[in-house]
């Protein structure tokens, strides 16, 4: 359990600093199990901050959304930091962005939360479809304890845990300025079981599977906007000349979009699942992300977002990189 009082105090202390613009964390949403991002510009805003197993979202995207407006001649740039509340996985997004120099270390204050796992909102919704005002969920010893209007239910963690948490290898943020509570040691391992099952399918089965998925894509680009690593000033899909991806929504363009998005995150995606969670059409984007992650580990012995000093995967090479052909 995360001590919310400690979290709020840390947020208060952080926003009180002159060199901090705001801190982003989580607060309770208006109804049901909802949790939404919360922004503290002032110490008193911190009283709303919570951390519960509902805080599944990755907030590392916010520092990337800061606009840098052009300055007038005598204007000083706003160099204030942004504070972000992060779980283990979210912190890896920041590490990866630092590695790519998308942010400098001094641009962010990282408030780290050692995480015991969060729930998948869709699984929760399926189990408890009611929509009340007094709904909450806490982590028990090996279950989740859910309260809906004074009634309590307990449910095995496995039934609600988000997929990413089932294989989490970095529960404690790798990088932080303030840690709320004690470090938690990793006990789980990524096994890529789901990916291996997909790999076993025949070409025909794979085509039919992905055709069914991509044909539903409405190209809203929510997956891109939610991803902390999709921070290009001008995304390739917005370019008009040359126009790499046509506006038309059809299988060919949709496939190209999804393939290129996944490829652009190769060696960068840290598996927070925010893209898939944001997709209104339930397209299993994590299967693509995980597939690439697995290949990268096997081919290049590389893991994204664990070392801010490492060079980005596709910006370097090793002379003994595998090659697929025989000379």
């Amino acid at each position: 359990m995360v001590d919310e009082k400690k979290l709020q105090d840390a947020v208060k202390k952080t926003v009180s600093r002159d060199d901090v613009k705001y801190v982003v964390g989580y607060e309770k949403g208006t109804y049901g199990f909802q949790v939404t991002p919360s922004f503290a510009y002032d110490p008193k805003d911190a009283d709303k901050f919570i951390f519960s197993p509902l805080c599944v979202y990755n907030l590392a995207v916010f520092p990337m959304l800061e606009e840098k407006p052009p300055l007038r001649k005598d204007q000083e740039p706003d160099t204030r930091k942004i504070g972000v509340v992060v779980k283990g996985c979210d912190a890896r997004a920041i590490v990866q962005i630092l590695q790519e120099k998308g942010l400098n270390r001094e641009d962010v204050v990282i408030i780290g939360i050692p995480c015991t796992g969060v729930v998948d909102p869709k699984k929760l919704q399926a189990q408890f479809p009611e929509n009340g005002k007094n709904m909450d969920i806490k982590t028990g010893k090996d279950n989740f304890i859910i309260t809906i209007d004074e009634k309590t239910h307990t449910i095995a963690q496995d039934k609600l845990l988000d997929e990413k948490c089932k294989h989490c290898e970095y529960p404690t943020p790798i990088l932080y300025d303030i840690l709320i509570g004690d470090e938690i040691k990793a006990t789980k391992k990524e096994d890529y079981k789901e990916i291996e099952d997909l790999e076993k399918k025949s070409m025909k089965e794979k085509w039919e599977y992905w055709e069914k998925q991509f044909e539903r894509c409405i190209r809203c680009y929510a997956c891109r906007n939610a991803c902390p690593l999709c921070y290009c000033k001008e995304c390739m899909v917005d370019q008009l000349s040359p126009q790499w991806v046509r506006r038309s929504v059809n299988l060919s363009e949709n496939t190209a979009w999804n393939l290129l998005r996944a490829f652009h995150l190769a060696g960068r995606c840290i598996g927070c699942g925010q893209c898939e969670r944001s997709c209104p059409m339930d397209i299993p984007l994590m299967q693509l992300n995980k597939k690439i992650e697995k290949e990268i580990k096997e081919l290049f012995d590389y893991i994204a977002g664990i070392d801010p000093e490492e060079k980005p995967l596709l910006a370097m090479f090793k002379p003994d990189d595998p090659e697929e052909f025989i000379l």
Binding site: K206, N250, L259, L260, F263, I292, I296, L299
Partner: protein, 140 residues
């Protein structure tokens, strides 16, 4: 697959090696199938996977990327980096059931006209077996 299927190939050839290699194949009158349309790039490192996708969407059945041999890249490491990119792209294509044999990365030096002709011949044969590209716009 119908016997009369003639695959379209787009070749991205490095200016310093493979393009000259292809030229040599031509000037020495080596025989190779006319299915390839070559685009000269200044280095195989210039080839963004987005180019390959674009070619496939626009109707290419196969894409050949050819660059200098390891150690010979005019810009030191373009070919190594392209090797990484294309390997990953191919894994992803296979995952999405777009036969990754539609994309080839080869090292062809300026003196290897013979090798170039051989690669193109072999690639055309392979693509005839694989069949038309499903990603083609307007196709399924």
């Amino acid at each position: 697959m119908a016997d009369d299927f003639e695959p379209n190939i787009i070749g991205f050839l490095c200016n310093w090696c493979s393009y000259a290699g292809a030229d040599l194949a031509g000037t020495s009158r080596m025989k190779y199938p006319p299915n390839i349309k070559s685009i000269r790039v200044m280095c195989s490192g210039r080839v963004d996977p987005i180019f390959i996708l674009e070619a496939l969407k626009k109707g290419a059945d196969g894409v050949l990327v050819a660059g200098c041999h390891p150690g010979d890249c005019h810009y030191q490491s373009g070919n190594y980096k392209t090797n990484r990119r294309i390997m990953l792209l191919k894994k992803l294509l296979d995952e999405l059931a777009i036969d990754s044999n539609r994309v080839r990365f080869e090292y062809v030096s300026a003196s290897e006209g013979q090798k170039f002709a051989h690669i193109v011949t072999e690639f055309v044969d392979d693509l005839k077996k694989i069949g038309p590209n499903p990603l083609k716009e307007g196709g399924t």
